[in-house]
Amino acid sequence: MIVEIGHFALVLALGAALAQTVVPFWGARVGDNGLMEVGRNAALIQLALIAIAFAALVNAHLTSDFSVLNVAENSHSAVPAIYKISGVWGNHEGSMLLWVLILAIFGALVALFGRALPRSLRADALAVQGLISVAFLAFILLTSNPFERLAPAPFEGRDLNPILQDPGLAVHPPLLYLGYVGFSIVYSFAAAALIEGRIDAAWARFVRPFTLVAWSFLTLGIAAGSFWAYYTLGWGGFWFWDPVENASLMPWLAGTAFLHSVAVMEKRDALKIWTIFLAILAFSFSLLGTFLVRSGVLTSVHAFASDPRRGVFILAILALFIFGSFALFAWRAPMLKQGGLFAPISREGALIVNNLLLTTSCATVLLGTLYPLALEQLTGEKITVGAPFFNLTCGALLLTACFVAPFGFSLAWKRGDLFGVIQRLSLAIIVGAVTAVVGAAWLSSGSLFAPLAIGLAIFIIVGTLIEVVMRARRPGVAPGVALKRALGLPLSLYGAALAHLGLGVTLLGLAGLGFGAETIATLHRGAPERVGPYSITLDSVGERVGPNYKEAVTSMTVRSGERVVAEIAPARRQFAARQMTTTQAGLATLNFGQVYVAIADPTPDGAVPARLYWKPLVTLIWFGAGCMAFGGALSLADRRLRFGAAARAKVVAGSLARPAQ
């Protein structure tokens, strides 16, 4: 019964989304305030209905109602409760439902907090948002219904894929979707601005918080996914340039470019057309990512062709929103008025360079991901575009972008003094260069990446800190006054600084991998094996039974010299329901690095074949990503830049400003 209510709520939500699309759009055309207001209510009602549907599905999973196909295929009565809940989005149908739920949440946020916006702009944006909802709700109801019943109901479910039985699944997809879908708001407002034919700094100011939220969540989502892959796949890699990863990286790159260009637009009223272009691009890549992951086209073109219903439907959605918005862009963008002049050497100029590098790497990722598919379709020839290609091309582009970052952060708006900035950053440049040289000497052989990256990381970190200090401290100012000035600096500045620091920290973590060590050996009880500065001893091998698996678990001691620094318990888990084995890596965090041990099945005589790694600084990769996301949150908390605050200030200043209008 509850399941049918969920299904019915989803159908009603489609109705609400349709109303949200048509009525406010019509209202904005004829200038009817009442009709425009319908969009607000429709967005809120839509959220309530989708929330009911989602709750119904969660309930079906929690109670292990195997008469629901989705539950029977993706759950098991013995799965721990947390994986019963996260299993809701651990499959196609449920993850699409989560997608539209988050879409509706963002729509409702616009409805609730968009009061200060021009009425017609808000109405148009809600209409576009509604149209996205219509498309995806129709997709779910017609091709991917999570509420489909199964008769007769099986006695037991087929279990959740063991790799997905991990806290990672509870965190990674929701974060990622908050990011993906968050860009839908930016897209809707870009489309609305194009429909209205007008765009200004107020637009940028309203879009800014949504951009920051989406970007921060996307950053966290990607980081969570990479950490999950790192500890779960068993060979210590954290980024594989897998098409599915690329699908999440592309919106991040486009979104990062957008974040920077929207800042230019907000502060300087420049780069309007480019900003709109990036707004459309960021969400287009989110849609493309959804298509690539959900249609199965990546696994094999043939799998796609054998069950094309879903793939073709998403492809149609993709075509509608991408071509539709770019057509609108081509038609309307030339009418937007450009403003804000600047010299090439200026913060705006540096941000353009940043944008070019980010969008080029985005295009490279796109081409690298789709090229093999296209080539196979056109010529029948199969090639692979793997990590070495992306490391070379995107690596070069992104490292260059990293190099530009401190300069951009230190340059003044409008007309900058490059020589002055170089002088200002001279300490950072010297320290960075020395670090790179020392790093290269230390490694003596191997690739250039590690020393280059470590030098660049230090340059970014020191350069960013210098800039923050210099903003607060002027020559001849007493320390107390400088401290006061530092406290008075806007939060958005600290946010940007923290994000750049995070970038440096992540880069430091990546560079650290070049300084690591690896040992592949069969461990015998009591015989220590060296990896990097540590030695690892196998103490015991045992069996353990979990709720829905049994595992061979080992216990090992990590020593530095004679001193015991950590105990780890790498294991191999066997899941009976799906006949699958997973590797539980043994991890010990030592300073910022990690000892990482992955084992194969123990031999009958109790020896354990294992891969041992020492990965110095590796945790900094994710710590840096956390800093970036937190930087976004800090910037979001800047009261001065909140849309409502600005609007209230305008009301006060209104009497003064009036004559000028």
Binding site: P344, A363, Y371, L375, T384, G386, P388, R611
Partner: protein, 157 residues
């Protein structure tokens, strides 16, 4: 000697065919560390043919293990890395290379970063040229409005 080790390894695999494999195993490794290092470098450049986007160095698949052992056999018999790579390409096609070779079919792929960046720079230059050189001076009317707003103390700023 090395051949014997590898031979033994192959026998072991046959014997343990049912046991699940994992990424590079101790029993596969060559005794000579320089040769083993060469084998590792090579296997990081080659794709596991049955899994998605994994090198044979990282892959658990039995086929990946077979190719890892094949590589070591060929290196042990004195072949250069290039020769082993060429042999594998002749057998499995370019598909096995994680880094696509530079040839007519992949020109567009390899040049795309430069092309996109170049197009972007050109577009930026074009936009700059089209933009007015300097801010037009205020009209008399605007000057008057400004004076009214600032109360006439504009000289201070």
């Amino acid at each position: 000697m090395i051949m014997r080790v590898i031979h033994f390894a192959i026998l072991t695999i046959v014997a343990l065919a049912a046991a699940p494999a994992a990424a590079v195993q101790p029993d596969e490794m060559m005794k000579d560390p320089t040769l083993e290092a060469r084998a590792r470098t090579l296997s990081e450049e080659l794709r596991c043919l049955v899994c998605q986007n994994q090198s044979i160095d990282d892959s658990d698949a039995p086929l990946a293990r077979d190719i890892r052992i094949l590589i070591r056999q060929r290196i042990a018999s004195g072949e250069s890395n290039d020769a082993v790579r060429a042999y594998l390409v002749s057998r499995y096609g370019d598909f096995i290379l994680l880094k696509p070779p530079f040839k007519p079919e992949t020109v567009l792929l390899w040049l795309s970063p430069a092309l996109v960046l170049g197009a972007g720079l050109a577009a930026a230059q074009f936009a700059r040229r089209r933009a007015p050189r300097s801010t037009p001076a205020l009209s008399a009317e605007e000057e008057a409005r400004l004076a009214a707003l600032t109360g006439g103390d504009r000289a201070g700023s």
